[in-house]
């Protein structure tokens, strides 16, 4: 894929947390990615966003830093690193809003052929998981290394 990523990431020794700085129109904004076990064995939730005053992830804030594609690519890079380390795990993610989920769906759809070479991708629909396809509505996405 031809997208640029932020080229320095800080991480924990188990790769469960990544941090980087978004650099753009509104200055330098620290960003955090977290992978957390869910109630489903082997499935880990991906959370991403700004770091709030409680040191937690705020995934509602809109930074408007002009680097959306670079941020998405950096998150994808972190997922790639994480799943290389934990090839038996699934990573689940959805947007904090429907619009963001749609954005993630479109980003995956545009790069689907290349992503499918490396990953199994499923789309969450109402009560079901179906293989990811372009042009379907999704509520969440779940991915694992092939």
């Amino acid at each position: 894929m031809k997208y640029e990523v932020y080229d320095e990431l800080r991480t924990t020794d188990d790769y469960s947390i990544f941090e980087f700085e978004s650099i753009g129109l509104n200055g330098n904004i620290p960003k955090r990615i977290e992978f957390t076990p869910t109630m489903v064995s082997g499935v880990y939730n991906l959370a991403f966003g700004d770091i709030d005053e409680n040191d937690e992830i705020d995934d509602y804030n809109i930074s408007n830093n002009g680097d959306r594609n670079k941020i998405l690519a950096t998150i994808a890079f972190a997922v790639d690193i994480y799943l290389n380390k934990y090839p038996d795990r699934w990573v689940y993610f959805r947007g904090s809003t429907q619009e963001r989920t749609r954005l993630y769906r479109m980003a995956i759809a545009i790069n689907l052929e290349e992503l499918e070479l490396k990953f199994q991708l499923f789309a969450e629909q109402k009560d079901d998981m179906v293989p990811f396809q372009k042009n379907i509505e999704v509520m969440g996405i779940i991915v694992k290394k092939k």
């Binding site: 990523v5 320095e8 992830i57 790639d80 959805r94 490396k118 079901d128 779940i142």
Partner: protein
């Protein structure tokens, strides 16, 4: 503060990234830093009827 640096190249991106394993970040390990997000994920995953392939 101990740090170690690794270079990572992804087969997806034509770019090398510097990964800094940072001790100060390790203090956050095990904490849930997005509790509402995790709650929403658990709620969604609990409704799924399909077993994911191994």
């Amino acid at each position: 503060m101990k740090q170690s640096t690794q270079k990572h190249k992804s087969s997806l991106f034509k770019q090398e990234v510097t990964l800094v394993v940072d001790d100060s970040l390790n203090r956050l390990k095990g904490k849930v830093l997005a509790p509402r997000k995790l709650e929403a994920a658990n709620k969604a995953l609990s409704k799924l009827k399909v077993v994911l392939p191994k």
